[in-house]
Amino acid sequence: MQQTARLSGSASSNSWRNAGMPLDLGILNNVRVNRSATERRVAALPGRRAVKGPAQSAWLLKAVTCIDLTTLNGDDTEGRVRRLCAKARQPVRPDILEGLGMGDRRITTGAVCVYHRFVPTAVEALKGTGIPVAAVSTGFPAGLAPHDTKLAEIQSSVADGAEEIDIVITREHVLTGNWQALYDEMRDFRDACGEAHVKAILATGDLKTLRNVAKASLVCMMAGADFIKTSTGKEGVNATLPVSLTMIRTIRQYQELTGFKIGYKPAGGVSKAKDVLNYFALMKEELGRDWLEPDLFRIGASSLLADIERQLEHHVTGAYSALERHPIG
């Protein structure tokens, strides 16, 4: 049975790492996304796939392993980052894991996600855990720094020990239909990442239409993105299920085209345990079992973990829990 695989690091994961493909405008021109139908699908799904009982606990624990535990704020400090890393190492109270019969499993979050400035702090704090550090580079969140500066930032993050780089695309390229520019930008980012895996943040809240989202997703995958990710968390609208369905259907299409499996990361707005079950069901139904592991699915979140912890304690004790009963992250 599959264990918690790591997105980066192991040789086996590199063997299927997305090699990209030439930009194919024909494919882009054929992109059609019907918003109403997309909404209907995601609206009906929770009713079709209730997850209760032990399966729910298991799914929520799995979600923990897929969380990119994140702090991306102007007031971040080393102390704050260290506290977050401690939570990433032990996201769920050991007695709760015991209670769920999971005491023998090493449950950590999928990664810790910080600004470039804090990569060394996080790497140090996570030493020996195998938990990768992800850095948001490339002039996060607007992505409007000079291109060379962005590439230099990626290289510095990698040099500082980041194993994953979350890049932001230039939304202008999407909004003006300049797919070649988006493709070139993404290729450069990917090259600059080297061995580090790259997640392309589309900032879907800025792209507005699902067609834009689908096209940007495809271009980023063609240009070598390992993951596609919805949001910086700073746009007006972050991850939604309709946007997610649109993006993961392009992942499926890209797999049909190239055979490569691309990961998916909704970010921002996934704050309730219930939400994450819906995301899992969507991944499982639309893409399949493989996308329920952290090598192909991550959730960018800061407050989700706290809600999951409460739910898990409730599963163990039968009593509703409270926030302060779980260590702060």
Partner: protein, 789 residues
């Protein structure tokens, strides 16, 4: 499995809806259910049968078989309650309907669980679709009751309505039937399907508690025999039926000539068209909603996939992949997509039709889905590249089985879609608004969903064309099915009058031979026989052709060939109607003289009839570009366009009286709305109609739009009624004629309009012209257009 097991497998755990409350309710009726008559339950009858869970085969309850006495008692109770119910102010009825809606919402989960158990469908569907839609139906119709007095001023309730509903959406169909009937002031005798009576009985119990007056709603359970007792009962004013086309035919035959209003919602083999510019993933998901909702046991299921050839491979590949994710299971499991088939007979039927479909050349697509042990289950199935000659391609399977074929051009897609005896619904998948709406307009079906499927709402009419039945349920268009036009209740019974015996001949200075008028040309009758036209004074005024079945055949062919008339602009049709009026007016004296000679009318009366005919042509010229549709606003982001469409080719048996005005009154609304007509003029006085063809010839009426065949009304009516290329038939004459026409119309389930021998006062515009006739000349197509980018 424990947490660790699920953590590794990431499987779903079966998750069952709590059925405690439902079992408790069933246990409280362990002795069996009686009927609900006059506000109370009867004791269980002498003959009972068991209703069971299709998912497990376990017995749920004992139901009574309704007898003659039960049906009589129910009709009597309903009749007794009818007067005071109808007399209630709309607001008072609205309050009752509103209370029923609230009551459904308060008990939604109990109803949903009982329904899922009894029918076998997934709890998701009863909980998320059936019950919310049912409540919405009562809310919506509470609104119609509230505003009935102002909105339907010229109408009154029909009286007592018999309603027979199917097992596929037991409670939703009850709501569709009961809500409008009660809202508009009728009382009801309803028979649920014998396999699924429970939610109807539960509803009756709840309705009584909600304060619905005694006798307003009566529920008699039983099988088809009880249904037969209801349809044959002479104490009912209407039968509303949802079910199979074959039973619908029987009901049409049984009710023929009785004057009962009739609504039939029957079968379908609905097309699901996917264009190459569709969102293919959305369309694939659409198939799930189209044919795997309710195990495909849906009259409007999208069961014929018609896919553009260039994307057929991709589409089917993705569809097959999607099918692998479908889960089949017990109805109360909250992790499934597909539940149980209603019973073993239906399962056997589906299985054998699929087997024959494979033998006939269809490629079987079925996923490796786990199937529950026991119970009546059938896997989701697609028969790919199904030859159109195969049974599976043309006959309703009523199970989770779609057939697919490909097309090359939009025209071919429409041709394939329309090439069926049915016409309930259609889905069109295309991201081009031009393509989607163009195709939607050309599809012969009562409902078209653009980029969607199986959408329903209380505010949007539901119902089919062709052999999918007639009448609409929901929306304003549905209200008329439960109302009677007050002006039409006053018609006097025609006295059978023998034409006077001929004594003498009127010799015209130059012989004028009235011919038939077919395809824009004057034609000699096929048999080359003539019949004399005798005036009131006994003198033979002339001779007209003795039309026979071949003349009807030719006229129908000409009418069908003139299909372009329906596509002409409304303005253009209006102009032609005005032009007919103008040209008739130029010959008013001559037409008046002819009327006097034939009918013995006074000069004034004859002239009045001509003037009224000119006015009537103008009326329908006026309406031609004003009889518009509506834009419904169902609760979604989008619109439903309710468009009145022509019925098609319509036969008209003109009334014996008012030889010109009767003829014009029937023909003008039909052609104004785009129909093509084969008219049989007044049998005793046909010359006004034959004189009229030269008016037609000078008025730019395209060939085939109006065809005139003279002769024996009854004989020609029979040919028209049995002609499967005729879509509608209007017959004004004896009660016998009405009955004959209705009875013989079952071949292709024509839309009939008859007067049961009661004469319209053709001279009274309040009776004989306007929207009531236009409504009869059209049927509403609802095009659902969800939007959003």
């Amino acid at each position: 499995m424990n947490v660790a097991g699920y953590f590794d497998s990431m499987d779903y755990a079966p998750s069952f809806e709590d059925d405690g409350a439902a079992r408790k309710w069933l246990a409280s009726h362990a002795k069996g259910f009686g009927h609900f008559i006059d506000g109370a339950f009867t004791k269980p009858g002498a003959e009972t049968f068991e209703t069971s869970e299709p998912a497990t085969g376990k017995t749920l309850a004992k139901i009574s078989q309704g007898t003659d006495a039960d049906v009589n008692a129910a009709v009597t109770a309903a009749r007794k309650a009818a007067k005071s119910w109808a007399a209630l102010p709309g607001h008072q009825r609205a309050l009752k309907l509103y209370a029923l809606a609230r009551m459904i919402q308060r008990n939604a989960r109990l109803l949903a669980v009982v329904e899922a158990l009894d029918n076998g469908k997934p709890i998701r569907e009863t909980r998320d679709i059936d019950m919310p839609l049912a409540a919405r139906h009562f809310y919506h119709h509470a609104g119609w009751a509230q505003i009935q007095e102002s909105e339907f001023r010229d109408f009154e309730p029909l009286g007592v309505v018999g309603q027979i509903i199917p097992w596929n959406f037991p409670f939703l169909m009850l709501a569709w039937k009961v809500a409008p009937a009660l809202a508009l002031g009728n009382t009801v005798v309803l028979k649920p399907a014998e396999a699924t009576s429970l939610t109807a009985l539960l509803f009756a119990e709840l309705a009584a508690a909600a304060g619905l007056p005694k006798g307003v709603l009566n529920i008699v359970t039983g099988d088809g025999r009880t249904g037969g007792l209801i349809t044959e009962h002479d104490g009912l004013d209407k039968i509303a039926f949802t079910g199979s086309t074959s039973v619908g035919r029987k009901i049409r035959e049984v009710t023929a000539g009785t004057g009962k209003s009739l609504t039939l919602e029957l079968g379908g083999k609905s097309p699901f068209i996917v264009f190459e510019d569709a969102d293919i993933d959305a369309a694939v998901e659409g198939v799930v909603d189209a044919i795997w909702l309710n195990q495909g046991q849906v009259c409007c299921a999208g069961s014929r996939l018609i896919v553009q050839e260039g994307i057929a491979e991709t589409f089917h590949k993705r569809l097959a992949a999607r099918m692998e994710h479908l889960r089949v299971g017990l109805s109360l499991d909250k992790t499934i997509d597909i539940g149980a088939i209603i019973d073993g007979d239906q399962l056997t039927r589906i299985r054998s039709m699929v087997d024959r479909g494979v033998a006939d050349g269809g490629t079987l697509l079925q996923p490796a889905t786990d199937m529950p042990e026991g119970g009546c289950f059938f896997p989701p199935t697609v028969l790919r590249d199904m030859p159109q000659t195969a049974e599976a391609a043309t006959e309703e399977i009523f199970g989770p089985v779609a057939v697919s074929t490909t097309f090359r051009t939009p025209g071919e897609a429409i041709e394939l879609a329309n090439h069926t005896r049915y016409g309930l619904s259609a889905s069109v998948w295309s991201e081009s608004v031009n393509q989607a709406l163009d195709v939607a307009a050309k599809l012969a079906s009562g409902i078209v969903w653009v980029n969607g499927t199986n959408m329903m709402d209380a505010g949007v009419g539901f119902g089919g064309v062709k052999e999918s039945g007639f009448g609409r349920e929901g929306g304003r268009e549905g209200c008329f099915e439960y109302l009677r036009n007050r002006a039409w209740t006053k018609g006097k019974q025609r006295s059978a009058s023998e034409p006077p015996a001929s004594r003498d001949y009127v010799i015209a200075p130059v012989d004028r031979t009235a011919k038939l008028f077919i395809g824009g040309k004057q034609a000699r009758p096929d048999g080359n026989h003539s019949r004399p036209v005798v005036g009131t004074d006994g003198k033979v005024l002339g001779e007209v052709g003795e039309g026979n079945r071949k003349d009807i055949r030719n006229a129908v062919e000409a009418a069908r060939a003139a299909a372009g008339w329906g596509a002409k602009s409304q303005h253009n049709r209006a102009q032609i109607l005005y032009y007919l009026g103008e040209n008739l007016s130029a010959r008013a004296d001559e037409f008046a003289a002819r009327l006097r000679a034939m009918t013995g009318a006074s000069a004034t009366k004859a002239r009045d009839e001509v003037d009224a005919s000119i006015s009537r042509l103008f009326t329908y010229g006026a309406w031609a570009d004003k009889y518009e549709g509506r834009v419904h606003m169902p609760p979604m982001r989008g619109l439903a366009l309710a468009i009145p469409e022509a019925i098609g080719t319509v036969g008209v048996i003109c009334p014996p009286e008012a030889p010109l005005l009767g003829f014009i009154s029937a023909v003008a609304p039909l052609i104004a709305t785009g129909n093509r007509v084969v008219a049989i003029p007044s049998e005793p006085h046909p010359l006004s109609a034959t004189d009229f063809y030269s008016v037609v010839e000078t008025s730019d009426v395209p060939a085939g739009v109006l065809n005139i065949v003279t002769g024996d009304s009854m004989a020609l009516a029979k040919v028209l009624a049995q002609h499967n290329g005729v879509d509608g038939l209007w017959a004004f004459g004896t009660a016998d004629l009405s009955e004959t026409v209705e009875k013989l119309s079952v071949g292709n389930l024509k839309r009939t309009f008859t007067d049961y021998g009661r004469r319209f006062d053709w001279s009274d515009p309040a009776v004989a012209e306007g929207e009531a006739f236009l409504r009869r000349a059209t049927q509403v197509k609802n095009i659902w257009v969800p939007y959003g980018e």
